[in-house]
């Protein structure tokens, strides 16, 4: 195995991993602040992917430009889902809240997936643009532009999100609510609105990830579960502490998968993350998700 192959594979892993990181950010922030686990997060990614696909095919919109529609669109869907469903769960105490949100997310998964099959058929869809295959080559290593853009967008999102959470009043309100909603309410923060905005923000992030997923690969109605699982693995790896940490954990997961593919063959790359996940889970059965968002 040449050194180029190894570097090339690991680089690819890192680039795919930046998608894992992006997918996990939304799940992580929603879990951290609302203490609800939205297992339909992968379905929101799927919806984002279809949004870009149809914007490209029907409106001829460049996928990057389609973000201007997809991200606000998913934000609105997030608002609606929270308003109609999850807001009813947030009233419960923590244990019931997580359990019921899990079940609702689970039902939502089924509905969205079936609905997508219905509307868009079960075919795999992808976006092919003029620059889809463009790549830079440095020292014999290929750097596909479309995949590279995922990393760049990921970094931009991390920086922007961190700035938002650390510097703005609303960002601080979100972090305060994540830590202790009662105290946050006593500080004059409108908890219900914080929850609503946070959930919608999580959905918008899923939409962004969905566009990149479709551009770099393909979208079909049943990709949701895989992406939820990937996001969960990343969140468990990173804990709930930090935005950059979550993104980095995603990149690392991508690299670990690629490394295992080199070592044991491609068939086992998916297993690596799950095995890591199960190991961490069995070492730290409680309090996996300590800390709040920063």
């Amino acid at each position: 195995m040449s050194i180029e192959t190894i570097v090339q594979t690991l680089l690819f892993g890192a680039l795919i991993g930046s998608l894992y990181g992006l997918a996990a950010l939304g799940l992580s922030i929603v879990f951290g602040v609302l203490k609800i686990l939205n297992v339909a997060h992968g379905e929101l990614i799927m919806l984002g992917g279809y949004g870009s696909f149809w914007a490209f095919n029907l409106l001829g919109l460049d996928p990057y430009l389609s973000l201007l529609i997809v991200v606000p669109g998913l934000f609105l869907i997030g608002l609606a889902l929270h308003f109609g469903l999850f807001a009813r769960v947030v009233r419960f105490d923590e244990e019931d809240r997580i359990k019921n949100s899990l079940l609702i997310g689970f039902g939502l998964t089924l509905i969205l997936q079936t609905l997508a099959t219905h509307l868009f058929t079960a075919d795999e869809r992808s976006i092919t643009t003029s620059y889809s295959t463009a790549a830079w080559e440095i020292l014999g290593i290929r750097l596909p532009l479309v995949r590279f853009s995922g990393l760049i967008i990921g970094i931009i999102v991390v920086v922007a999100l961190r700035w938002f959470l650390r510097r703005t009043y609303w960002g601080k309100a979100i972090r305060a609510t994540a830590e202790d909603w009662r105290t946050a309410a006593l500080a004059g923060i409108d908890i219900r609105r914080t929850y609503l905005v946070t959930f919608a923000l999580g959905a918008a992030l899923a939409g962004l990830a969905g566009m990149l997923v479709t551009l770099q690969g393909s979208v079909s109605p049943n990709i949701g579960l895989q992406w939820t699982l990937k996001a969960l693995i990343v969140v468990v790896l990173a804990g709930l502490g930090s935005v950059p940490g979550t993104f980095l954990a995603g990149v690392l997961l991508g690299v670990a998968e690629s490394a295992s593919a080199l070592a044991f063959g491609g068939a086992y790359r998916e297993l690596v993350g799950i095995v890591i996940f199960l190991i961490i889970l069995s070492i730290r059965p409680q309090g996996l998700f300590g800390g709040s968002h920063a």
Binding site: K172, R175, R182, L186, A187, G188
Partner: protein, 235 residues
């Protein structure tokens, strides 16, 4: 003037307040006394909109606060430092204080109040970038009160400010509360188990027992009142 009239509150079917009424005149310190489980915390929580009364009315400067959400009550100038202090452990001291200025009424004065808080608590100035969770109990108390001041409240409610603190820190806390009232015109309602220290600074006091007011009076009258012993020790 802060007024609670005939307040009834239940947890589910369990009624814990039975017609509590009290008044806190502008610029005075009023103590609400009573043993554990008498309903003191419930009274404060209801005043802050964290529990819904089944009956009764709460008003502050002629504005009806009953059934108004907590964040709006805060914005109207009423602030509660809860029993659990209410500091955000993972946020820095500075961020905690800045969050105090979250209510719109307080935001324009943020920098100025911050300066004032740092004058009151030089220790917080030194530790402003430290996470609040790493502070000592006394320092967290400072953050809690500092955060309350950042909200530019007209009236401050404190729930058991002495809980879990060393005597000297308790003493300093109460001196500070007294000073804020006398010098800066803050209205204060303090809930305490520690009768002597609370009445040491208060103008007027109420005794709560089993969810009802069983006695009230000026500080001196109350200190001599046998009902306090009774409410606390059952003798």
């Amino acid at each position: 003037m802060f007024i609670i009239e005939n307040l009834h509150v239940s947890y589910g079917e369990l009624q814990v307040l039975w017609g509590v009424s009290l008044k806190v005149p502008q610029g005075s310190i009023v103590a609400l006394l009573g043993s554990n489980g008498a309903g003191k915390t419930t009274t404060l929580k209801t005043a802050m909109g964290m529990m819904k009364p089944t009956q009764g009315r709460i008003s502050f400067r002629d504005q009806d606060l009953t059934l108004i959400p907590t964040h709006k009550i805060v914005n109207s100038g009423l602030f509660l430092v809860p029993e659990w202090r209410g500091t955000f452990a993972t946020l820095s001291v500075l961020e905690n204080l800045e969050l105090g200025a979250f209510p719109l009424r307080a935001r324009p004065f943020k920098d100025k109040t911050l300066e004032h808080v740092f004058e009151l608590f030089p220790r917080l100035h030194e530790r402003q970038s430290q996470r609040a969770g790493t502070l000592s109990g006394g320092e967290r108390q400072m953050v809690a009160i500092g955060r309350a001041l950042m909200a530019k409240p007209d009236m401050l409610m404190l729930d058991e400010p002495s809980l879990g603190l060393a005597p000297l820190i308790v003493q300093n806390t109460f001196k500070l509360i007294e000073r804020l009232c006398r010098e800066e015109g803050l209205t204060v309602l303090v809930v305490e188990q520690n009768v002597n220290i609370a009445l040491g600074i208060a103008d007027y006091g109420y005794i709560l027992e089993n969810g009802a007011i069983v006695g009230e009076g000026t500080t001196d009258n109350l200190l001599a009142d046998q009902r306090i012993q009774e409410a606390y020790l059952g003798i």
